[in-house]
């Protein structure tokens, strides 16, 4: 038990001293005059003064407080390579054990993780340390130990400026002579026109070892699976032209050959995401005769900013002549040769609108159309009663691509077009406005050419008695659609409430032109927070699981469930940023979680250089854990040291002993405010009187 003495004056101290001063003046005179009893009187005054100042003896019951050390465990993406994560976990556990054995020391642990939001920020180790320090009093801080690869991206200029005085140590979970080759993106294109090329600029950097400068193989892989390769020298900016293969997101992977013995391959590749913008689509519309639905098609295609429409209407078939001089006619020749021989392949879509064989297109031209579809073109036959007639397009070579054969009869009765079960799955007719209700909330049509569907294609809309109304099919590389009624214009005119003809025909035309959004068989991944949402569109009854390959090479199977007809979804929560590869039995795509160029994977070499300023400032040290395979052997000995010394040395790591304590109880003993004080005062006064009375 420790005692301390303090004064606890009964009157304000200045008052006490003034009174004593006043009383001391006559006493001083008496002493000078050598008056009798002056010494005793002085002693009495002194006793009185002590009584007024009231000295107190205080004893404190103290409890020593533990010192708190902070362990920052780096679990960022760059810590996952090689043996780092295992080494880090081992070291963290052993350090915790050793700290538990140190006297009067406790440990707080925090981890640093990469999340979707930290792509451009990297490892925020000091931010995590700051979070841990928030409830640690500065006088108890014993120091911080970071188990990391040293690739920390928020090293402050001064750690002490935060008010904590203790060592910061770095335990580097790597080896000193690591080597790494990496690909550095200098410039990447954001978008480009489909079919053209864009310039991508990059550099190859090598770290940890002087490069011999020999060319390195670079491979470019497109998301359709095609690839090309060439060689480039490290340290130089390389520009390469990449193709924009299709509309929508284009993922192009650029990979460089690995360096023998390098620590990580993740930064040997990158994925460039480029938005492919389609050039204007060329549509050829051939109307077999003027009819009301023709204007519906024209208005739709003309209003579409991405379409160039070439429209021909057969105003007068060759067999009808009235002898009017040509100069009085506003008719131009149908440039069939130019359209169907020379320039057919330039069109993205050919529409036959109520077209009948009337000796205008020779058979050989229609054969060209079949070849055109097989090679990737698209044909829409928007038919009406013409399809059932002997002059039907089906009676031409074009029947090779058509998904239904006319029976020759025509159904004439009011009916509401229905979206079939297959149609509910197909992007062209899925969720068509008005199809939510049964029967659909759109207007009636009155006419339908009867047709028997073949084995190809899907019936996505049907008429009365489930007769096919709209069929979609693939032929070779191309696509074919068949409409068996010409009355979509009734919807446009608002009859019986109208209907979604604009939406339906627009989707139909763009599906034919291979708009990626309308693909019926598609696999896609998109980011939602830390989740990768996998969406599979399919016409099949089942969608199998999708295998996701994460950036670190881990393979995860994700089962899918049907969320709405034709759409199957699954979710994967991934802690890794970067390119995830998605595969199922048929399709293979890539999806980016976070930015593909995440800071974590830029530099991977273990280093103590980034942390060095803070280590030096706080007199902490760097310890390399990976010098040998004997992990435990590299962990420094821990010891506690008083203030004002270096906290690190070869093989040992120091933590600060603060000696902080807490007062549990206080007891006080007044020394003069007792009977002893009273007796002393009275005794001295009596002695004075007795001496003076003599």
């Amino acid at each position: 038990m420790d005692f301390t003495f303090t004064l606890n004056p009964l009157l304000p101290e200045s008052t006490v001293y003034s009174l004593i001063g006043l009383a001391a003046i006559p006493l001083l005179l008496a002493l000078l005059a050598r008056a009798r009893g002056a010494i005793l009187r002085s002693l009495a005054l002194l006793a009185l003064a002590l009584a007024l100042l009231n000295p107190v003896a205080r004893s404190e019951d103290r409890e020593p407080l533990s010192d708190i050390a902070v362990l920052v465990i780096d679990q960022s993406l760059s810590q996952t390579i090689g043996r780092r994560s295992q080494r880090t976990a081992d070291v963290a556990r052993q350090l915790a054990d050793r700290i538990a054995n140190l006297p009067n020391t406790e440990l707080r642990s925090v981890t640093v993780q990469s999340s979707a939001g930290t792509d451009q920020e990297g490892t925020r180790a000091f931010e995590s340390l700051g979070t841990a320090l928030a409830d640690i009093p500065p006088e108890r801080f014993a120091g911080a130990m970071m188990v990391t690869d040293g690739q920390v991206h928020d090293v402050p200029k001064s750690f002490r400026a935060q008010g904590y005085d203790g060592p910061v140590h770095a335990l580097i979970a790597g080896t000193r002579n690591e080597t790494d080759r990496r690909l550095v993106v200098e410039r990447s294109p954001r978008f480009g026109i489909v079919g053209q090329q864009q310039t991508f600029a990059f550099r190859i950097d090598e770290e940890g070892r002087a490069s011999d400068g020999s060319p390195i193989e670079v491979t470019i892989t497109y998301d359709d699976g095609s690839s090309s390769s060439f060689r480039a020298r490290p340290g130089q900016t390389v520009e390469v032209e990449i193709d924009i293969k299709h509309g929508g997101r284009n993922y192009t992977e650029v990979a460089i050959a690995p360096l023998a013995g390098e620590i990580a391959l993740q930064n040997n590749r990158t994925v460039i995401t480029t938005d492919g913008i389609r050039d204007r689509l060329q549509v050829l519309l051939v109307s077999g005769e003027p009819h009301p639905g023709e204007r519906t098609w024209r208005n739709l295609l003309k209003a579409d900013a991405s379409v160039d429409l070439v429209h021909f209407t057969i105003l007068r078939p060759p067999e009808k002549q009235d002898g009017t001089p040509v100069k009085e006619l506003s008719l131009i020749a149908f440039p069939t040769r130019e359209l169907f021989v020379e320039k057919l392949s330039e069109f993205d879509l050919v529409i036959f609108d109520r077209y009948e064989r009337r000796g205008i297109l020779p058979t050989v031209y229609l054969n060209n159309v079949v070849d055109y579809v097989r090679a990737g073109g698209a044909v829409l036959v928007a038919s009406g009663p013409d399809y059932a007639s002997p002059l039907s397009l089906y009676e031409t070579p074009l029947n090779a691509v058509l998904p239904a054969a006319p029976t020759g009869s025509i159904t004439v009765e009011p009916f509401k077009p229905q979206v079939t079960e297959a149609g509910k799955r197909h992007p062209v007719t899925r969720g068509l406005p008005g199809s939510e209700t049964t029967p659909p909330s759109w207007g009636k049509w009155f006419r339908l050419a009867d047709a028997a569907p073949g084995t190809q294609g899907h019936i996505v809309m049907s008429g009365p008695d489930d007769k096919p109304l709209m069929l979609l099919s693939h032929y070779g590389e191309g696509r074919v659609a068949l409409m068996l009624s010409d009355q979509a214009w009734l919807w446009a005119r608002g009859y019986d409430g109208g209907g979604p003809q604009t939406e339906l025909l627009r989707r139909l035309a763009h599906w034919l032109m291979k708009e990626p959004e309308l693909e019926e068989e598609a696999l896609a991944g998109r980011q939602d927070g830390r989740n990768l949402i996998i969406e599979r569109r399919t016409m099949a009854d089942e969608a199998g699981p999708v295998t996701v390959t994460t950036p670190s090479g881990q393979k995860v199977q994700v089962p899918l469930t049907e969320s709405s007809p034709g759409i199957w979804r699954g979710t994967l929560t991934s802690t890794e940023n970067g390119i995830h590869r998605l595969n199922d039995d048929e399709l293979s795509v890539v999806a980016a979680l976070g930015e593909a160029g995440t800071k974590e994977l830029e530099e991977l070499i273990a280093t103590d250089q980034k942390l060095r300023p803070v280590l030096d400032e706080t007199r902490g040290g760097a310890y390399w854990l990976g010098n040998d395979d004997n992990i435990g052997g590299s962990i420094p000995r821990l010891s506690k040291l008083g203030e004002g010394r270096a906290y690190s040395g070869s093989g040992w790591l120091g933590l600060k002993a603060n000696g902080a304590y807490r007062v549990r109880a206080v007891s006080e003993l007044p020394l003069f405010a007792t009977f002893f004080g009273l007796a002393l005062l009275l005794g001295l006064a009596s002695l004075t009187w007795f001496r003076e009375g003599r």
Partner: protein
């Protein structure tokens, strides 16, 4: 008219039908020919709404006052038929109209022509003023107003012989009245197709470059 269309063009129309504007559904007709009678009764609001919707959704009505020859004898040059038409149109949302301009699609939708005679040839043909196209339609006029008594010039009996003479006369004028009819039907069916045709050579030129 139907037989002329069948004979000369790719259009194979159904038989023309008489309609009762109050009672019949008109949405199926691409073109309505409306001879205006002096004693045209006031239409019910429902019928007016029907006509308005028809015109706004891309339908075309050809009003024929048939008074080109007689108008000059009427007070102020305004015949009873014209008055009846004005009364009718006053209750409809009619866009501004103008005489058929020289470059209008009606002048080239099948035949090239600048005058549009019927039984008479003095009457002017009026269409919706061009320029600010209504975005809900494709700029195709929803109203054509003439006074040349077109149906009378087109009329034939069961034997195919004409019913009425044309004035001032000549089979040339009858031929041109047929051509007017064909152009109007073609226009109603193909819209601005002919005005776009001038761009086709340029589009084709660009292809394959």
């Amino acid at each position: 008219m139907t037989s002329v269309l069948k004979q000369r063009t790719a259009v194979e129309p159904g038989e023309p039908m008489g309609i009762d504007i109050e009672r019949d559904e008109i949405v199926f007709f691409p073109l309505i020919y409306w001879p205006v009678l002096p004693e045209t009764p006031q239409l019910s609001p429902a019928a007016l709404a029907k006509i308005d919707k028809y015109m706004k959704n891309g339908g075309t009505i050809l009003f024929d006052t048939r008074d080109a020859a007689t108008a000059v004898f009427s007070a102020g040059g305004i015949s009873p038929e014209t008055q009846a038409l004005r009364k009718l149109l006053a209750n409809l949302d009619i866009p501004p109209i103008e005489p058929v301009p020289e470059n209008h699609v009606l002048t080239k939708s099948f035949y090239l022509m600048q005058a549009f005679p019927g039984r008479f040839n003095q009457g002017q043909l009026w269409v919706e003023a061009q320029g600010e196209h209504n975005t809900t339609t494709d700029g195709v006029t929803s109203i054509i107003i003439g006074s040349n008594d077109y149906a009378a010039a087109w009329a034939i009996d069961a034997n195919g012989s004409v019913l009425l003479p044309v004035s001032p006369g000549g089979e040339d004028q009858r031929e041109f009245s047929y051509r007017t009819g064909i152009n109007i039907v073609m226009y109603a069916l193909t819209g601005n197709y002919k005005s776009d045709q001038v761009h086709v050579p340029a589009l084709l030129e660009r292809l394959g470059q």
